[in-house]
């Protein structure tokens, strides 16, 4: 099958969905410019022009409500935030309006707005431009929340979102944008709530989301060299979470590492651990390990940033620890984003 980059997959899904549904309108700051949100809106703008790929003023708070107003009267807004951090300003609209609209007004219609938020990890983005807000979004019933890790999922989940009758938040890690993979040219959807076994294994389960799926796979490579077979579960969907897939894997391996791009406390890593603990803690032959951000805001200085962000090596060490093995001195593994060149 044809290979394309993650950002291209997003662009393709956008164009195909817009072709199929005239109600879809893309809106965001600079969606129409030469950069096209890292190339994800360029094709849509070329194809549909400014009426359907709409540059908007700054003002995230109102725009969340404006999108809800449009969505509840017949449009299908696809709102793009070039950093999900800016969505703090949109949270009233997201949580108090979009997530609750259908329920609060008696199930007479939903607020089908799709919100893309890009996580700007690394390269000195700093504390306010690199947060990964999946656990916040995941806490609230009424929203769907997904974190595509592969180009194929980036397309399929976005196309599913654009057919949803309810609001969807899609978190995309900027570090994945150049990643290539096989993606069907045809329109297709990936359902919400279904995780995926990114790599099969028997000795330890690594549950991961987004960028951390790749770090986990690289850790699994390194483990394989040592004869350890790690299973990597890509949750894909934060809400609903595919509990069954997680439980089935942990039941087989008896060991759980959760790798996330956000903090441990009240995060995805907590939720995955809780799913197992509330199902059957007896499954666990060893304590759960959370491989997450250091418990501080994101620093800029690169040695600190490297230490702050979890990578393949942290996943590897966590797995070895659970298996009671010494890390030894294998080659140091670089972060996925090594080699990135600015400006961002």
């Amino acid at each position: 099958m044809r290979k394309i980059a993650y950002f291209q997959a997003i662009g393709e899904a956008t164009v195909q969905a817009m072709e199929a549904d005239p109600r879809i309108v893309v809106a965001g700051q600079g969606v129409d410019d030469h950069k096209g949100v890292y190339g994800t809106t360029t094709d849509a703008f070329a194809r549909f022009g400014p009426a359907r790929v709409r540059d908007i003023p700054n003002g995230e708070n109102a725009f969340a409500g404006i999108a809800v107003g449009a969505a509840t009267t017949g449009m299908r807004p696809l709102v793009v935030h070039t950093r999900d951090d800016f969505m703090f300003l949109a949270m009233d609209g997201i949580f108090n309006l979009a997530a609750k609209w259908r329920y609060m007004f008696g199930d007479r219609g939903g607020a089908p707005v799709v919100m893309r938020g890009i996580v700007g990890r690394g390269w000195g983005q700093g504390a306010t431009h690199s947060q990964s807000l999946q656990s916040l979004f995941g806490h609230f019933p009424g929203l769907y929340v997904v974190t595509p890790a592969s180009p194929s999922d980036a397309k399929g989940l976005l196309m599913n979102a654009l057919r949803s009758e309810d609001p969807v938040v899609i978190l995309e890690n900027r570090g994945l944008y150049e990643l290539t993979g096989e993606v069907s040219e045809e329109p297709f959807t990936v359902p919400f709530g279904k995780g995926r076994i990114a790599r099969a294994g028997t000795d330890v389960t690594v549950v991961a989301a987004s960028l951390m799926v790749h770090e986990a796979e690289r850790a699994a490579d390194a483990l394989a060299l040592r004869g350890v077979r790690a299973e990597v579960v890509d949750v894909r969907s934060i809400r609903p979470l595919d509990d069954a897939l997680i439980l089935e894997s942990v039941a087989r391996t008896g060991r759980l590492v959760v790798a996330d791009t956000s903090w441990a406390r009240y995060g995805l890593a907590a939720e995955v651990a809780a799913v197992v603990a509330e199902h059957d803690p007896g499954m666990l032959r060893a304590p759960v390990r959370r491989v997450t951000l250091a418990d501080c805001p994101a620093p800029v200085s690169w040695p600190l940033e490297e230490a702050f962000n979890p990578g393949a090596e942290s996943v590897l060490h966590a797995c070895l620890e659970l298996l009671g093995e010494e890390p030894g001195n294998g080659p140091r593994m670089e972060h996925v984003m090594k080699g990135f060149v600015g400006p961002y």
Binding site: A62, A67, A70, T73, P141, G142, E165
Partner: protein, 342 residues
């Protein structure tokens, strides 16, 4: 007049409404709210915080009488009058206050989350300023080419909000967007001088009005007496015409005053919250009384008609209360229903 005269909502075409019809609508809303207020206080069975518009009826009635049924109105926490003025179903509203399955929001939303899409009442909500944005978004839909199908062309969105809500940033961001894209949205600020117990002087710089701010976005804006239903209606007709003709958003600031406490049926000046003299002076400017007086010269039978309307409205709202009480609560087994589409 006949004892079976039906309560009427104002006409919803583009002609001017009769003052008698406007008065009738105000009387009906006044009676409905007063009756609900008493029952609310005495029974404690409507378990949802209720914000009454008693004393402010002219704003909702005057504006809604200038709208078509298909235009969508959005309100804030103080939304009963707007809902009823737009033709929202009274039974469904009362059932909502009682948390019944037959409520307009199926018992999920309560007093501050009314909706009646049939009547063109889009939604109301309790977070200040939210609906300013939502109405702007609805107007965006109405301005989009795919909405320009037969019969939908020319819909407008209207949002009512208070002087307090205008302080929220969403006001600024929404007006900027609407003006930039010349969206067909009418912003109606019901300036009752208070946000909770805080007067305007504690919240906004003296000598400058909300209207001045709206003009900063290039929006045509007018400020007028919100207790004069005829003036409100005339201004609203002009505003609606402006929006419908694609000339962009319009802003109305309507000065008015609420008689009851912020939330609940009591009179807060009796607790010393506001100067009793202020309340009394505004009560003398009662919009119902003023409309009645204006009609009296030409229509000597008006007092009798008002009395009839009052009786009818009381019967209507009592019937709605009885019907609501006789309605079932939502089934607990349906608790999760409506969280997502099924």
């Amino acid at each position: 007049m006949s004892p079976v005269e039906q309560p009427r909502t104002p006409r919803q075409d583009d002609g001017p409404a009769d003052l008698a019809d406007l008065l009738h609508a105000m009387v009906r809303i006044r009676v409905a709210e007063e009756t609900i207020g008493d029952v609310y206080r005495d029974e404690q069975e409507m378990r949802t915080p209720v914000h009454f518009s008693i004393g402010q009826e002219a704003t909702a009635v005057g504006v809604c009488a200038a709208l078509r049924r298909e235009d969508l109105v959005y309100g804030g926490h103080r939304c009963h009058a707007q809902y009823l003025a737009k033709g929202g179903d009274l039974d469904a509203m009362v059932a909502e206050l009682y948390g019944r399955r037959t409520g307009c929001a199926a018992g999920r939303g309560g007093s501050v989350h009314l909706t009646d899409l049939e009547a063109g009442f889009g939604a109301s909500s309790a977070i200040l300023g939210e609906m300013i944005a939502v109405a702007t978004g609805a107007a965006w839909t109405f301005a989009e080419p795919f909405d320009r199908t037969e019969g939908r062309l020319g819909r407008i969105a209207v949002t009512f909000f208070g002087d307090g809500a205008s302080e929220e940033g969403v006001f600024h961001e929404s007006l900027n967007f609407a003006s930039l894209h010349r969206l067909p949205v009418l912003y109606v600020c019901e300036n009752n001088q208070y946000s909770l117990s805080s007067g305007l002087a504690a919240r906004q710089p003296a000598g400058h009005s909300i209207t001045d701010r709206a003009r900063g976005y290039g929006i045509t804006a007018r400020r007028l007496d919100g207790n004069d239903v005829v003036a409100v209606h005339e201004a609203a007709r002009e505003a609606v015409r402006h929006c419908r003709e694609g000339r962009g958003p319009y802003f109305l600031e309507l000065d008015t005053y609420r008689w009851r406490e912020h939330v609940g049926p009591n009179r807060d000046h009796e607790q010393g919250v506001r100067p009793a003299a202020d309340v009394e002076s505004w009560m003398r400017r009662c919009p119902v009384r003023r409309a009645t007086e204006a009609l009296r010269a030409t229509d000597p039978g008006i007092d009798a008609r008002v009395a009839t309307w009052t009786r009818q409205a009381r019967a209507e709202v009592n019937a709605a209360i009885d019907a609501a009480k006789a309605s079932p609560f939502p089934a607990v087994s349906d608790l999760l229903t409506g969280t997502y589409a099924t």
